[in-house]
Amino acid sequence: MDKSLLLIVAVVAVCFLALYSTYVSLIQKKNKVKEAMGGIDVQLKKRYDLIPNILTIANKFMEHERGLITDITELRSKAAGLKSDTDTISQKIKLDNEISTKMGQLMVNVENYPQLKSDQTMIQAMQTYSEVEEHIAAARRFYNSAVNELNNAVEIFPSSIIASALAIKTCPYFEAEEAARKAVNASEFFK
């Protein structure tokens, strides 16, 4: 076989391998983000399952917080029906931040109800809630890590060309809202 033909074949093979490995890497990163989204859903479901229990207990004592309790219930219903996906993740993040903020307010307001503060069921529910929050925080960190890798690949040349050809887009990070930056620690209220 002609040497120049061999050279062309070798160059084409190398280019194909490079393209293929970039493609594989992009798909792996995209799937990693999906896996991370699934992880967030699992952890958030735990929170959604727990919120009604907390609200039921709170309802008995917190007569002046009806508005807040109703808001949380509505937000929870909306969020629970929304599955994390590349299209819905922004909405999910927004809803989740709102729930976090409202739940934070509820925990702060518990301070004003000594009877509720000393209720054993409430104490246990709040401790479980805090633990679930830790799992959610871990799932968010995993999501952000996966998104960081994907976004780098999507935005940096040459993988950006393949990403645009495959219509792979950047994903939004899970960022805490300003109100949620001051994390409320339930354990502080039940010393």
Partner: protein, 433 residues
């Protein structure tokens, strides 16, 4: 809060007092690391009394640890000193003349035989047929071996008698003759490298062919039944502030074989290679202390942290065999110092919170550049292994006076440093870590 000083030592003063400094102040940590890698301890030599010596330090501590934790340690120091002075030292002082006599004979015999050996060698050159004169030369290694065994036996005998007495200073904490953590348990944590599973292990040659690894050392196994046991040494088990703790001085070993090449022939390589052409050598993968803490957090998978960033850093290739994935965390400095692998990415982040990473890095710094930290989270326990490469908890050595307070102070410092890790990592707290 106290910086741990595992592998370090105290010096100077006859008083027993807790060591103290603020862990939250990076400058102080840096000073400690820079000034004294092996002794990250701030002694308060001018303090007249142990009790007031620690009180100001406790009050100035940055709030990482509650006053209760400082008080527990202070009480422990007081109890230990009281027991030592009342129940242990008076008896040991009576034994002191006997110790000196034993030590004299134990040293005199090998030295005498050594001199005799030198004489024998000279005689051998003059009278090559005088075989009898070679006996001292043959006997010398055995006598040195016997000397080493005697030191160990002496240490063990006195530890067996007096450690339970000394440990009364620490309620719910015991010294054990047998290991507090078994070898299978340590292996199951995956905390140390398994060279047989890693192709790029530091125990193999660059081409991965010349070295072979055997996971079980028959010599170590045989030694474990003798006073020369160097797999496990001192072990402790108990509870501190509601956290179950087990401490084992431990050495992880493996056999490394180098093929002795025969000229002109290409040999086939396999794990079961012909042992005739292999030269085997036992090497330490790890030598230090393994500590097991019970955790308030529940988890199901494995999360392993191994040190990295230095030439002889352990490989993590074996962890991939267990389907563990690398976990890239947000803390860039932490990632430079540790390789993190886990079976569950979310669980790893649940365990390794940002504050936990910060504490682990600070503690790792305080151990110094030679004392590496390994961690594993497995079966609701947190395992921490610190590579000290020295004998810890050394006490009742035959070649030291029995009333030498330095050895007791070192023991206490080493134990309390480990106990204080509970406070540093906040392992007694239900939430956060």
């Amino acid at each position: 809060m106290t910086i741990p000083s595992i592998g370090g030592n105290t010096s100077g003063n006859d008083k027993f007092k807790p060591i103290s400094s603020s862990v939250n102040k990076p400058d102080e940590v840096n000073n400690i690391v820079n000034n004294s890698i092996q002794t990250p301890v701030q002694e308060q030599a001018e303090a007249p009394d142990p009790a007031p010596a620690v009180a100001p330090a406790a009050s100035s501590a940055s709030g990482n640890v509650s006053q209760n934790a400082e008080e527990s340690i202070l009480e422990l120091y007081k109890n230990f000193e009281s027991i030592l002075r009342k129940a242990v030292l008076p008896e040991l002082e009576q034994y002191e003349p006997k110790r000196k006599t034993i030590l004299f004979y134990l040293r005199a015999v090998p030295i005498g035989v050594f001199l005799l050996s030198l004489l024998s060698i000279l005689v051998f050159f003059v009278y090559p047929n005088a075989i009898l004169f070679s006996i001292p030369v043959i006997a010398l290694p055995f006598l040195i071996f016997a000397y080493k065994i005697s030191l160990k036996i002496h240490e063990k005998k006195f530890k067996k008698k007096y450690m339970p007495v000394l440990m009364k200073a620490m309620p719910n904490f015991n010294w054990l003759e047998l290991s507090a953590i078994s070898i299978p348990e340590i292996r199951s944590t995956r905390i140390f490298e398994n060279p047989t599973l890693s192709r790029n292990s530091r125990y193999r040659s660059d081409d991965g062919r010349i070295y072979y690894n055997r996971p079980i050392s028959l010599l170590s196994f045989a030694k474990s039944f003798t006073p020369l046991n160097d797999v496990f040494d001192d072990c402790f088990k108990g509870t501190y502030r509601g956290v179950d703790i087990a401490i084992s001085e431990y050495a992880e070993k493996c056999w490394v074989g180098r093929e002795v090449k025969t000229s002109g022939t290409q040999r086939s390589h396999s794990f079961h290679s012909d042992k005739k052409n292999m030269s085997w050598q036992e090497v330490n993968i790890f030598k230090g202390v393994v500590i097991r803490f019970s955790m308030n957090k529940k988890f199901e998978g494995y999360t392993v942290l191994r040190p990295k960033g230095y030439s002889s850093a352990p490989s993590c290739a074996d962890l991939k065999h267990y389907n563990m994935e690398e976990v890239v965390l947000e803390d860039v400095d932490f990632n430079k110092n540790f390789s993190v692998y886990s079976t569950d990415q979310i669980e790893a982040r649940y365990l390794l919170t940002t504050s936990f990473m910060d504490r682990l890095r600070t503690i790792s710094l305080s151990f110094g550049s030679k004392n590496r930290a390994y961690c594993s989270f497995y079966d609701d326990y947190f395992y921490l292994a610190i590579e000290t490469n020295k004998d810890l908890f050394k006490l009742f050595s035959l070649d030291k006076p029995m009333n030498d307070l330095e050895q007791y102070k070192n023991l206490l410092t080493e134990i309390t440093s480990i106990l204080q890790l509970v406070d540093l990592f906040k392992l007694d707290k239900k939430l956060g870590l």
